[in-house]
Amino acid sequence: MKMDKIYNIKYVDAYYLYVKNIGQTKLSLHEAYGYVKKNNNNIIIAFIKERFAHKREEVALGLVIPDTALISTKNVTNNKILANFKIGTFVTVTWRDIVIFDSSDLRDKCPIMYTEGILYKIKKDHIVLKNPETIRTYPNSIKNHPKKKPNYYIIPITFIDDIKTIK
């Protein structure tokens, strides 16, 4: 698929904090310009394309985001997924993350993350997990993301594929 059209993309992202006492939380507004192609529910945004002979081109620097990261879908939240969850319970969350990549590690799908932690807040468009531990399960397993364990992880609700209580 040719990536010729130029797009302006507004999206949200997950983030983590090392502060001890968390105050108000909200999702930041991210904005990008680039060429876009879709791969099922993944959106690939090419910042730089390498151009080859015969009009062939390849992404040299880009971003993969879940299609649910778009601001236009931020409020179309499936809050039902959280209907039976109480603050203070220990949960596991499987979610899709955003990743930047270059030609040495081409990507066309979002990484899949698995986070365990205490459900600390449920807001309109995000959840906050306290004392989270996160591993990446796709494309390859990475323990401890980030390496230094944060105190809180803020995850957009639209990023969540699955959430379970640990008893």
Binding site: N8, H30, K49, R51
Partner: protein, 77 residues
């Protein structure tokens, strides 16, 4: 090459740049022109709460073509 960045204009200048790499490979990028100097330009790709996150510096001597993109030619996603 004339300067493109109009500091008196609060609107972003979106540019499409075709440039050479260090090994004569050819690249194309699009983004916001945030620096426009004698020997180089800086093109930003993304921002978080209006602060630039990722960008590329391109030497002017490596630029093959640069065009300002009309905002009407930019699609929203």
């Amino acid at each position: 090459m004339k300067k493109l960045l109009d500091k008196n204009n609060s609107e972003n200048t979106i540019v499409k740049v075709i440039f050479r790499g260090d090994f004569n490979e050819e690249y194309e990028c699009v983004g916001v022109l945030i620096k426009d100097e004698k020997h180089m330009i800086r093109v930003a790709f993304n921002s978080k709460n209006d602060k630039v996150v990722d960008y590329v510096d391109i030497k002017r001597k490596n630029i093959k073509k640069i065009d300002v993109v009309n905002s009407l030619d930019i699609e929203q996603l």
